[in-house]
């Protein structure tokens, strides 16, 4: 494929990756920002969302769109509820100690993965997209008669992928409104600023923590529900989203909503764009090192401010 269309396609694909990543990473960022703990089980919650989506779509049967809609509503609720339970049963009891939380959530990740393996099995299972039209895109080329439009091989996107981008943007906008315009958001932000002060002002910090943890997991699940019609539900699918979300959260600056979105775009796009220029595996190596070096030389993240 020529350079132009290739880059265009990489950007489109990168936008879809970024959209899902932004949702997933936002969940991690929220937990990280408010609770100051590293949730290693975040990828497992993502996977749970995908598996729940498959299960709900199976139950509903009927038209794919109906099953998908049901999954988009119910899967995040289920996963969020599960996460709140985990918060009450485990994290609250270790007092949100950073190191113990890491170990406990690693344990939780194993437990979730193996439980899903036993119940759901080792196969990758698809969920039918609600709609699936392919939209071919034109490109310009210079011909004898001047510039002309043509339709290169493969320069296309599906209607569903466009929907994923729009849905992610809508959910993020909703989250933004929740955090800035509502009482619940105010309470979360206050807890993020200074949990002792918040407690002194009568904020029920432990209940806020449970809700934030649930909301974080639900965001991961939403990302997963959006992605299963493109990819499939598989019990080991949580690894990549976990790693990428971590990177996004750090690059974006801890707990910063706009920073997380910008970083998700950056990471999602980098992968695609670098792969235009380099052989695929080399591209991955270069992209990984590039992000690592950004962290090394701007440890406060791209959007964060240096602390005195």
């Amino acid at each position: 494929m020529e350079f132009g269309p290739h880059l265009m396609l990489a950007l489109l694909e990168g936008a879809v990756t970024s959209a899902v990543l932004a949702l997933t990473a936002m969940g991690l960022s929220l937990v990280f920002g408010v609770m100051r703990v590293v949730n290693v089980a975040h990828g497992a919650f993502f996977m749970l969302g995908a598996v729940a989506a498959w299960w709900i779509a199976q139950l509903v049967g009927a038209h794919p769109a109906l099953g998908f809609a049901a999954a988009l509503l119910a899967a995040p609720l289920l996963v969020g509820a599960g996460a709140m339970l985990a918060d009450r049963l485990i994290l609250a009891r270790v007092g949100y100690d950073p190191e113990r939380t890491i170990v406990a959530t690693i344990g939780l990740m194993y437990v979730i993965e193996q439980t899903v393996l036993m119940g759901f099995g080792p196969d990758a299972r698809p969920v039918a997209p609600p709609f699936d039209a392919r939209i071919a895109l034109p490109w310009v080329e210079r011909t004898a008669e001047g510039l002309a439009l043509y339709w290169p091989w493969g320069l296309s996107i599906t209607a569903y992928k466009l929907f994923v981008i729009a849905a992610a943007a809508a959910i993020l906008a909703g989250l933004w409104a929740l955090m800035t315009r509502t009482g619940a958001g105010l309470v979360m932000r206050a807890t993020q600023q200074d949990r002792d002060m918040a407690r002194a002002f009568g904020v029920p910090v432990s209940r806020v923590f449970a809700r934030v943890f649930g909301l974080g997991a639900a965001l991961a699940a939403m990302g997963a529900v959006l992605v299963v019609p493109i990819q499939q539900a598989h019990y080991l699918m949580g690894g990549d989203p976990l790693l990428l979300s971590f990177i996004v959260v750090i690059i974006g600056g801890l707990g910063s909503l706009p920073g997380t979105v910008v970083a998700a775009l950056l990471i999602g796009m980098t992968d695609g764009i670098v792969s235009v220029f380099l052989s695929p595996t080399l591209a991955k190596i270069v992209a990984t090192l590039a992000v690592a070096l950004v962290l090394v030389f701007r440890p406060q993240g791209l959007m964060g401010r240096a602390r005195a």
């Binding site: 406990a104 393996l117 801890l254 690592a292």
Partner: protein, 314 residues
């Protein structure tokens, strides 16, 4: 001073007990002991950085793999003898630790975790990218010459166990000596309060790099030894799984204790060994055990003993 004598007695006693076990255990458990001892060296390397210096790395698989591939490639492709290849593996690990450590130490806390993780990920992908020589994920079998050290054929179970025990004991006693030394105590000071240590005149930036290099070198030694003793080099040892394992071992056994790594590896090994007899979901049992551990014994087994019975435990 009494503590020092106690410490000598404890570490000497453990080595003696292990030797006794090695001589008496039935074949299956002797084989497990061999593996546990080598993996415990890896855990001790990790503990040096995490348990004693307070730096949580999620990228130690890079150092383990650097040792393993440094050994394996120089023996299989370079035709080096096992002894020379072992040195090459250790040197490779030290070099990689020095380079990545110098960069990663510009960050701290979670950013340090992520940067080390990403360096390790880049290392793993590099192994796959250089598949012509490394055979990627499939890996390669080491030639017989690479498994003969100082006249011993390490393909034999007896020689292998003796080699593993020797390696472990040397590293175990060395780390015990290190933790009691000026350097070791200074690293602990950095773990406890880095700014205070710096304002006592310690060059904490340099000392942390020293800790990364020591830790990486020991991890690389373990990687090289694992390849030499078990005859296989493969990319699965460079995956993120192998960065998380030493963290779990050390936490399970007791971070910042000399015996913790051994205890943690042995417990985890037998937890999986035992539960896999009962169920396929042995990782579920391991996961539940980790959760239980954080709830009920957060300082790990050795940490628990130190707190309850023996506060002098190094």
């Amino acid at each position: 001073m009494i503590d020092a004598r106690r410490s000598l007695l404890l570490h000497g006693g453990i080595v003696a007990c292990l030797a006794l076990l090695a001589a008496t255990l039935p074949a299956y458990h002797a084989g497990n002991l061999t593996r546990i001892l080598v993996l415990a060296v890896y855990a001790m390397g990790y503990n040096l950085l995490f348990g004693y210096t307070g730096l949580l790395s999620l990228g130690h698989a890079l150092f383990f793999a650097a040792g393993m591939y440094g050994f394996g490639l120089s023996a299989a492709l370079g035709g080096l003898s096992a002894g020379a290849a072992l040195l090459a593996g250790v040197a490779a690990a030290a070099l990689v630790a020095g380079l990545t450590g110098a960069l990663a130490l510009r960050t701290r806390d979670v950013a340090f975790m992520i940067v080390t993780l990403m360096f390790a990920q880049a290392g793993y992908l590099t192994i796959l990218y250089l598949g012509t020589w490394t055979r990627g994920d499939e890996g390669f079998v080491l030639p017989a010459a690479a498994r003969r050290l100082a006249g011993f054929d390490l393909r034999g179970d007896g020689a292998r166990l003796v080699a593993a025990l020797t390696l472990f004991s040397a590293c175990f006693l060395a780390t015990a000596a290190l933790t009691g030394s000026r350097l070791g105590r200074t690293l602990i000071a950095i773990r406890e309060n880095e700014e205070r240590a710096r304002m006592l005149g310690y060059d904490t930036a340099r000392l942390k790099l020293v800790a990364v290099v020591l830790s990486g070198t020991l991890s690389g030694l373990a990687g090289a030894a694992y390849a030499m003793l078990f005859g296989y080099v493969g990319a699965s040892f460079a995956t993120v799984q192998y960065s998380i394992l030493p963290l779990l071992w050390v936490l399970l056994g007791g971070a910042g204790t000399t015996v913790g790594p051994l205890v943690g590896v042995a417990l985890m090994f037998y937890l999986i060994d035992w539960s896999s007899r009962v169920t396929d979901a042995y990782m579920l049992v391991a996961g539940a055990a980790l959760i239980g551990l954080t709830l009920f014994a957060p300082q790990g087994v050795a940490g628990l003993i130190r707190r309850k019975a023996a506060p002098w435990l190094p």
